[in-house]
Amino acid sequence: MNEAADIDAATGADSSTVEPPPQQGEMPFAIVEGEPVTEMPRDLYIPPQALEVFLEAFEGPLDLLLYLIRRQNIDVLDIPIADITRQYMEYIQLMQELDLELAGEYLLMAAMLAEIKSRMLLPRSSDGSQEEEDPRAELVRRLQEYERYKQAAEDIDRLPRLERDVHQAAAELIHRQVLRLLPEVALQEMLVAFKEVVQRATMFASLHVRRETLSVRQRMSDVLAMLDGTGLVEFVRLFRPEEGRMGVTVTFAALLELLREQLVDIVQAEPYRPLHVRRAERDPNAAVLEDVEITTA
């Protein structure tokens, strides 16, 4: 209603004619030179910008309706529906003419008012015992409900608010120390950790496939060692079938490597006789052995 008073006060002095504004009565909406003005002059000129601000100030159809009702100082429970509907429609029309963004809710309310108005015109049931709903009941309920929260919003706005009305008092603390707290640990936490790490280790161990490394280099040493004692070894005796295919392969690779390094010689007395392996007549330290690993899974 403050908005209304502002507008009325701002426009009260002018006297050109435009759109006939809605006619109201009863409640003074402006005081001009000490005289309450209860009726807007019919030839009142409202600057379009002012009207626009005024119309935009409404928070919705309920807000506009409340304004219309309050302006006539009538109780929300006793809405002269025909009158209010006419006024409401006039405002809607104004908004449309001013090209204000008119929310659908305003038109919905217009429809509701029209419906109420038409129901009010219908004759009531003659049967007095039958309860009949006042067509305005729902509207009144909504208006009242809206008005309570409109009021509550104003009340909240009036509460002393931080930053606007009161300020947090603070003084600096110059020599602040930084304290670090240490985490707390319960014994159970540690016990569970231990249990889990042990379980994990066991699981790791049982699933772990131990890789038995058969080193070609190792086998090369083994072969050389065998040759050291006897000087000459039958080729087939270097192989141990119980080692499986991989073992045989490793021994064979070791032999090839030894041959390549010219550390051993393979000799045959005559064709179709058994092969023999013997140490080559060289300094074994001359060769740098590579660490070649073959692993068995």
Binding site: E59, G60, P61, L62, D63, D75, V76, L77, D78, I79, A103, E105, M109, M120, R124, G128, E131, E132, E133, D134, R136, A137, E138, V140, R141, R142, Q144, E145, Y146, E147, R148, Y149, K150, Q151, A152, A153, E154, D155, I156, D157, L159, P160, R161, L162, E163, R164, D165, V166, H167, Q168, A169, A170, A171, E172, L173, R176
Partner: protein, 207 residues
């Protein structure tokens, strides 16, 4: 530690912390062997509040504890210290906030029902960013709409200890108290609410 020392320490703490402190936080400052009990801290806070009489600051209890604040009498002058004006909030925002505060938990649809207009998403965002409202759950209806409620920061900001301290809501009037007789000749009844009905029946009986 005597009473005066306790009082000075609490005042120092509230000033240094620059935010509200609750009784537990204040007690935590002290080592166990000298820690004052909660009753003593409260008593001392009350004393400190009295000591602030005549000083430019006051000690108030709010939702999250106790706050030393500069009295509102100085607000107009102090506002010149800051370049920015304190935010003014639109009626739409305040009405939305009021509905959330008084009717929480509440959905957007329910807010729209009362206000008669759709809720502007910016308003909900602003209120959330300010830390005044938050989603407190979802209503068990199709679409599971968010239920909004206010936060402790909201109470703190408006200097309230709890929601009970919000200004009381206006009462709803019964429709048949006034008016209806003016429109209708006979006694009219309304089915709006049970209370209305009961009141209407009483009125009927009286006639």
């Amino acid at each position: 530690m005597n009473n005066d020392q306790l009082k000075s320490t609490i005042e120092a703490a509230l000033l240094a912390y620059g935010q509200p402190l609750n009784v537990e936080q204040l007690r935590e400052m002290f080592d166990e062997f000298e820690r004052p009990d909660a009753v003593d801290v409260r008593k001392t806070l009350a004393e400190l509040a009295r000591d602030c009489d005549g000083r430019p600051m006051e000690l108030v209890e709010i939702a999250s504890g106790w706050r030393l604040q500069v009295r509102s009498a100085y607000a107009a002058r102090l506002s010149k210290l800051w370049q920015e004006r304190p935010s003014r909030y639109s009626r739409a925002l305040l009405e939305t906030l009021a509905l959330i505060a008084y009717r929480q938990p509440i959905t957007r649809a329910e807010i729209e029902d009362v206000r008669g207009v759709t809720v502007n998403p910016n308003i909900v965002r602003t209120l959330t960013e300010r830390g005044w409202i938050r989603v407190v759950g979802h209503r068990e209806v199709p679409g599971h709409p968010e239920l909004l409620g206010t936060t402790r920061e909201f109470l703190d900001y408006f200097g309230l200890k709890s929601l009970d301290e919000l200004p009381s809501l206006a009462a709803l009037k019964d429709m048949d108290d006034v008016g209806i007789q003016l429109e209708f000749d006979g006694p009219a009844t309304v089915q709006a609410t049970a209370a209305d009905l009961a009141a209407a029946n009483d009125a009927d009986a009286a006639n």
